[in-house]
Symmetry: D2
Subunit: 368 residues, 4 copies
């Protein structure tokens, strides 16, 4: 109901603007007794942090998280955890000239139409800076997940930038951290670098597609109908700035398949668990996890803040040309990778708690 | 929170199984004084109804809706509206031989793993029959929308079946009702007929892509961050059976665009409202409507119930081959069209009520 | 959010009017695998049923519950359970003459002011008949509670009718079922019979106070701050028709106590659990159960539908005198007893599921 | 769902402990364009602030509120408002000796049993200090209420302390601020001063009853069944620390009344609105406001932290005697007055927004 919260039982409410004194997340419903310090959260924020290479905004933010509540002697107490990140480099003067104009492709026009407010400071609440709060909250979720499902592993990477996709036959998760694009294909990463250098010089930007994979999630997590795991993941990913599409497993590709092709055949594996011959389902059937990898992909549109002139109107209705100076990401998709991982972590934990509530911790439908 | 409800203020809870005595929807939060009779809802159910042509399941259901509460003298009272649809053709014997096996690509295995229950009667709660309840609920939503935003028009159609997409240059909304595929391109509809005849003969099925367009929605509807209009729509569409992907506007195509290409340029129209040069945004910026058409597409996987044998396991863990006899849709995407329209109606009404709650009915940010 | 739902995880939505074709409850979030048939629910409805003696309304309703969904082969499936009760004795003609007047003390005036609807048929949705749906839903809750906390016992009884209260020194739970008042003090029950006979003859009605006790609830159930067990119980009891006050343990009496008097002293019992010297807390401290009896009391105002004339206005604003004929309870408090028990069952189950979600089933803070 | 949030549309989440670095409230769903500065909120916090006279705890807190987000150029933006209050006088050493014991009547034992955590610092999250965050949030609510219902007035006062109640015939709202007890009867205030001086000398504490009245609320606000205005108010008041009972209008007194006595007779007033001959209903019928004063009373138990020894156990299960030194309120009821007002403000605003969502701003049922 609340516009700035997500999650049912592990519930995160984010707050704060790009250019205010601080932003943060209120994390409610966290299980008690989980080890948690700021040092557990900071690495995830560092991964998302701007200004780490020439392909992301040059805004410099320490993004240092402070835990203001909910932790006592290094453990969660079960009460709300307030995570605050102070803004330290909010040069709002950069935005001065656009106070009265609307950027094509940017939310400033719809915020104004909805609320009657024109807050030009870095996009206010619609800034991608809000995602820092999610990443911090997900740092808490990961600590809990580590206690509940120690084998769970969440990995995000970019699979397409502009028209160029990775070569799936070269996919190597071990190289993701070796390039500025979280690209799992080293050769493609080099081509992207060339592509993006060219785009930046022309003051243009570009879209991207991100893939997030969760392995190690047990079967049976999720719920039918309106809390389907895929629906929850789609909602979560679609809340990330600039995301315009979400798909699970074969996704849009499934539209082109036949039933024979799409059916993931089943056999019983050595450990007495079902093993599937393929994963078109992306690890989810009927909204509930199968035990296979959960595979989500989402498309990120190109940054709307570009240096090339676009036709627009002023708040007074006058025609104008907009060029957005300031510090912007030429490909916001890059920084969406850790954010997508964060949303995956939050959704999975929330669903695990929901499952525990309804079904308990004991055994349920066992095959064989 | 509730697994079988959706919506925040206009809140729908569906119940019932494919092969029980009845199914239905409890609609809560409906504004009072809205004209509503069963005759207002029935046409939408008839549109979704199975057995209307050879391309949908031959199950025969009247799908006659009964209003059990919430209406007095032909008007809504503001109290909950119970919509019940009796099942009349639930031949559960068709499913007899699959009681102990799991269909590849079907939710029966995950329901069993979650709940420890194996209800073989037509898929139980995971059956697409549940969508009848949504369509009925959306019939209520449409009556309310007609009073709040009379110009709103929601149109759904199929744009791809298997590998074959429509020719966008031939798109003609007036022909949608003239073919069994809700196809807006008459020539493609004929090709689909040939394609699907061939598939049916081999006992196979096929996927599809559906597009739902809402025109006439005012600007300013939706909310930032975790109740973004696109996020709500993505969640809603992804709850429809067999849906594996959702996109808004340019969607996954936006990943391949540059910022220059993607920016929908703005000018002020004759009526004093912004007019856009394109609609890559799909009518939504920052989670809030722009006033352009809201454009959503979703991919439907092929029906998992097919007549060709697939490898699987029994509940006892034994390897087996599954052939699913019974009455199934060779392309469930066809019947997903009115369901997608229904979800669009419910989401938009819910968001309109949320907007009225927070911002009221008075004027807000006006341009020019 | 939803106006006709309660509970967070065990979520009940009731629907239906006093004089429509049926009413019922949609129960969502029920754990799977719990034994459930209509015969498990019916006894609770029979206990609440009108017309059982001369002190309750003479309306004759079988109140036969039908389970329309969510149960397969006698066990819950984890999907929504639809409970329907058909209305069979809705003589709406009884209300004919009051269509245009408002009964003093009745909700018909506020419903009209809110919704602009005047549904005279037996109070429509505001009728106490809605509580049948709650009692049915609580029948489901009790089945689940029996599996989760077999020692839990919920007992309700009337402790005051009009100015006359029971003699606490004579309290004997074994006699509750022996008189028409659910009175745990046989001597007082006889006096109440005399009192109420006199009131009925004059066409008057009277208020009452009900006490509901839950014994056997483990310590640690509930939550701090805004989901306190006492807050949830207060909200639940206050939703029962005609309830005007709720208290826990010493309740309003605690205002007159000193800290020395009010403190329930603690020692360790033989079973290694804390034992308290008194129970002013009513089994709840800081919103969380102590393991003592949970004690809730609520006050029920006298029925507003009486045969003595009261000054009122018509819908046209004209002064009028109202006498409410028809079949009414001279003391609605009597039939509120099983309803209060029902709400206790629903709240406790919901809280147990919430607790299991956040804290799990394993050990937590153990004393000694 | 979330344990630390309340409200449906105007949604407040509080966070922070008594002895951490800060506490606060995240306010979501606030309408945009409402004037708001820290100076609008601070007076309400000052009213609740400890240490203002010898009858409240001697802890010294500035309770200075900082707005960290959601406000731009002195107006709300419609995005979440973060209100932070730093703790400045958290002498946790005062509590040192009680780390291993449980105070009779205090929540430390149940928090431990639930979460397995023993945070001795000032009661952690269960401290009444949490109410500062509510009062701050209500400061925002009041600003919105001032724009929506300018005539609304919320007044709280103490009507009983220990066994001594006020003389209702002397009730004079103008003297409430003239004594340290928020007492509307000057003579009783003097007697309370004598009573409380005596109690403090013996290291004892005492309970109280508070009354909160809202005048000027239009008819039609609230909702039937599970979001009844009285249920929402009861839940809200019962979440305040140490509250053990809540009643509306005649409340528990209604149990002793007859229907003839209890019925508030109606006539049409000069302004064309219904006027009532009495207000036993406390301004609410069927969960919906009548337009009369909304009258809520709640009972506050005596502070459990007292200087007289009480029997208890240690965390190791050993018997012990507890004396709670430190700075405590001899009558926490005093400081509950502004908190009760705050909860009233938040509930009424939330209900007004819910009403606007469902019914709109236009005319509804008009009498006459």
């Amino acid at each position: 109901m609340s516009f700035n919260s997500f999650g049912h039982l592990f519930r995160v409410t984010t707050w704060g603007e790009s250019h205010g004194p601080a932003l943060g997340a209120t994390v409610d419903g966290c299980p008690p007794g989980v080890p948690l310090t700021e040092a557990d959260i900071q690495p995830w924020l560092d991964k998302r942090k701007p200004g780490q290479n020439k392909y992301t905004t040059q805004r410099r933010e320490a993004d240092a998280v402070e835990i203001l509540s909910g932790v006592y002697e290094g453990k969660t107490t079960g009460t709300p955890i307030q995570l605050m990140i102070r803004n330290t480099d909010q040069r709002s003067k950069d935005y001065g000239e656009i106070v009265k104009t609307f950027r094509p492709g940017h939310a400033d026009i719809t915020y104004y139409q909805k609320y009657g407010i024109r807050d030009p400071r870095g996009g206010g609440r619609s800034s991608a800076r809000e995602t820092a709060a999610r990443v911090a909250a997900a740092g808490v979720a990961r600590q809990v997940l580590a206690t509940l499902v120690p084998d769970l592993k969440i990995t995000g990477y970019m699979v397409q930038m502009g028209p160029r996709g990775i070569d799936r036959t070269k996919l190597d998760l071990s190289v993701i951290g070796d390039n500025p694009f979280w690209c799992p294909d080293a050769a493609t990463a080099e081509l992207w670098a060339t592509d993006l250098d060219a785009l930046r010089k022309t003051g243009n930007s570009v879209g991207a597609t991100i893939e997030i994979v969760a392995s190690g999630l047990p079967a049976g997590i999720g719920a039918p109908i309106y809390a389907k795991l895929d629906s929850e993941l789609a909602a979560a990913m679609m809340t990330i700035n600039a995301v315009k599409g979400v798909e699970i497993g074969a996704g849009f590709g499934a539209a082109a398949l036949t039933g024979v092709e799409n059916a993931d055949e089943i056999r019983l594996g050595n450990e007495g668990k079902p093993v599937y011959g393929s994963n078109h389902a992306g690890g989810i059937l009927g909204g509930i996890s199968t035990g296979q990898d959960v595979v989500v992909r989402f498309a990120v549109k190109p940054t709307s803040s570009i240096l090339q002139p676009r036709q627009s109107v002023t708040i007074d209705g006058q025609p104008t040309e907009v060029i957005t100076k300031g510090r912007h990401d030429p490909c916001v998709g890059i920084r969406a990778v850790p954010v997508g991982e964060a949303m995956m972590a939050c959704v999975l934990l929330d669903q695990l708690l929901l499952h525990r509530a309804q079904v308990g911790e004991g055994p349920r439908g066992v095959i064989g």
